[in-house]
Amino acid sequence: MVIRKLRIRLPLGVVVVVLFAAIVASLHLMSSATQSSPQLGSMYSLLVLINSIGSILLLALVVANVYGLLRQLAKKAAGSHLTARMAFLFVLLSLAPASIVFYYSMQFLKQSIDSWFDVRIDQAMEDALELGQAALDERMRTLLRQTEQAAAKLQLTPIMEFPFHLTELRDELGEGEFTVFSRQGRIIAAGGSQLGFILPDLPDAGVLLRVKQGKSYIRLEPNQDQNLQIRAVVAIQSEDPLFLQALYPVPLRISQLAGTVEAAFVHYKELGFLRSSLKHTFILTLSLVLLLSLLAAIWVAFVSIRRIVAPVRRLAQGTRAVAEGRYGHRLAVRAKDELGFLVESFNTMTERLAQASEEARESRIEVERQRAYLETVLSSLSSGVLSFDHESRLLTANRAVDDILHIPALDYLGFPISQLKAEHPYLGEPVDRIERWLNKGSGTWQDEISFAGPDGRQELYCHGTTLFNGGGEKVGAVVVFDDVTALILAQRQAAWSEVARRLAHEIKNPLTPIQLSAERLHHKLTSRLDARDAEVLDRSTRTIVQQVEALKSMVNAFAEYAKSSAIQLKRIALATIVEEVVALYPPQSGLRFEIQAETDLPDISADPIQLRQILHNLIKNAQEALTPPIQGNMWFILNRATEQGKAFLQLTVRDDGPGIPKDQADRIFEPYVTTKTKGTGLGLAIVKKIIEEHGGSIRMENGHLQGAGFVIRFPIPETDIRAEATSGGSGVSS
């Protein structure tokens, strides 16, 4: 306890020390009072009161502490379990020995109090008193006889002589004082050793009553000085009864002896009477001592435990804070002991954790930033980028993939690439090729892949690289591909334009001299030759001229194809143009036309002359495909179409002719690709060129059972400015 107290600092320490001092002093005083110390005897009740109040206060303190602890336990507060366990242990440790000591002290106390009393001592006391009484009784009887004799003498004496007789009596007996008094208590005469100093004290009324009835009275009694005296009262027989009282002092020695015996007897008797009270008082004192000490000890234990547990509690709170991710929590270091060291270490640890967490957060942000950047770069790329893991499962795909392959690529992340093939059969060729490269799995590769996409044939240019980690282990692959369809087409177109230009230049120039020379030959020689030869000449020159004309027209067609035409854009209604063109073809032309147009179709921005050219070319194409006696049908369907948020005016042109063989379908729009015996093979090439110059598109209609079908789309201009911009764009692409 002392060590515990020393450990507690001011001012609580002082309070505790003072409290303990007060308790110990009070208990000591009470204990001393119990041992019948006369000065403290009067304070006993006050001390009991003070100690009881102290106990109640301490009890209240302990109860408050226990209540607080229970509440903390219920709240599962940090450190409450440790406090509870320590408090329980401490209470147990202090209560157990104290209870044992208390129990045996009580037993000892009871036994020792009981041992004070003995039947033999009891008897001896009684006997001693009786002995004293017997000794005094003998003396009293003698004195009574003397007094009675004196009364008898006085009976014969006149009242006037009483004082004289009384003095005589006194002298005769050598001791005592005598008083004669009337029934009313009036003193008639008195004589004796103490006479004159104080008034003789008279017997009480009860005695007088007895004496009046003729009974003499003799009694031993203590006087004012607590010495014994013998009082005898006898009646003096006369007409008016008088009484004689004699007071005989008991010899001093005998009185003292009797007093001692009596005092011992009284004390012993009193002790016997107070036996149970004594026990109770001792038990009360002992209990108060135990109660106060225990309660004080428990209270101090609570306070000390709280102080000891405080850093642990703070540590627990700090740990909880760290667990919740709050690293900024710093604990105050209040002690220099092991717990203080622990708290300091905890602070260092949280500081490091906070640093590490901050660094991790920063690097995470950095990584996130890098990833976002990469994603932005990838999504801005016009090339499709796919990455695969080591099992050829799709890991990433950028937006361009969606545009090029016409699939929602992000839906396939985590799936093997073959899944694409299963759900989009047109991707069979590219997927097979890429898969093959992936499975081969080493180094860098590149490939050109051609496949029939939903909008026609597409050409992909693919690069692939296998990815390895730092340890040289294969972790996947990345494939980058570009849609080079337009590029290849443009290249081919440029080549054809060059050919056409050269043809026009190289062939057209000699044609006119050839024609002129042939005509000149005909003109010069016809008159000189005979009829037969002239006939041959005429036929030959005509053939030359005709063929030259044919060559010229062919070369002109090429020139037309090659030249970049000047487009005069106007807002026009396509349906009107179609109707105008169709009207030029009578039923004798071998074709019957049908026009289906949605109402409220928007105008488009186009050159009407060129549009007519397109329509003429298409009709001519259909006408040429027909074998003459058979009547053909042709449909023009005009409607609105929307693809990927863009609005188009769509013209679908169909016929019920022989159609286009599959192997040529991909290249039908290239020059000199024709299925017919007639024509230059440039018709559809020119159509495509014009349409593309208008920013539109043309493709073969898929899924057509009979005849040929073309789907032509023109962009719908939102404003005139927009239309001009579109025409400018198309100029570049041509």
């Binding site: 009067s42 005695v207 009694e221 107070l274």
Partner: protein, 186 residues
């Protein structure tokens, strides 16, 4: 055990000093203050003393009993609390002498003792208070009203120490009279 004692102690503190609702063992039948020619006051009173069995047994076993007569005199004041002019105690101790088989009454103030053959005569003598000098009242002014009250009680604090806790907690030991009140004008 500790708690029981604590509870008993608490109960003892709260216990009233009256007769616990029973018929009071002591009773003041009459009390009167009178003035001598020399203007000193004296008290006359008739009091019934009845010792119960517990007290009588304790007395026979040598335990001295101290009785306290308490007189209180207050002067009425119109605009203020009453002024206490007399607050006086008289103590009488009764003890038994086994050798003489006598009961002895001692006036604590004067030390004068008186012996009685029986408790009965002692009670009578004790109850007959005559001409008991009272501490002088302040110079009397005419027309003053005084309220006096007299009570008698056994003094527990004068009992032997071991008996005191028991006495405080036991109704048997709370022996006292009710206040006897009377008024007189000066």
């Amino acid at each position: 055990m500790n708690r029981l004692v604590a509870c008993l102690a608490l109960f003892g503190l709260a216990a009233p000093t009256g007769g616990w609702g029973e018929e009071p063992a002591f009773q003041v039948r009459r009390a009167e203050l009178f003035r001598h020619e020399d203007r000193s006051y004296a008290l006359d009173a008739d009091i019934d003393f009845h010792f119960n069995d517990t007290a009588a047994e304790a007395l026979r076993n040598g335990v001295p009993l101290t009785l306290v007569m308490h007189l209180r005199v207050r002067r009425s004041r119109a605009w203020w609390w009453d002024e206490t002019v007399v607050d006086q105690d008289w103590r009488r101790t009764v003890r038994f002498h086994p050798l003489a088989r006598a009961y002895q009454l001692t006036e604590e103030e004067s030390g004068v003792t008186e012996n009685f053959a029986g408790l009965h005569t002692l009670r009578e003598a004790l109850g007959r208070v005559r001409n008991l000098p009272v501490r002088p009242l302040p110079p009397p002014a005419s027309g003053q009203n005084y309220h006096a009250a007299l009570s008698v009680a056994l003094d527990i604090e004068a009992l032997p120490l071991p008996l005191r806790p028991t006495a405080y907690l036991s109704p048997q030991w709370h022996i006292s009279s009710t206040w006897f009140r009377w008024s007189f004008a000066n």
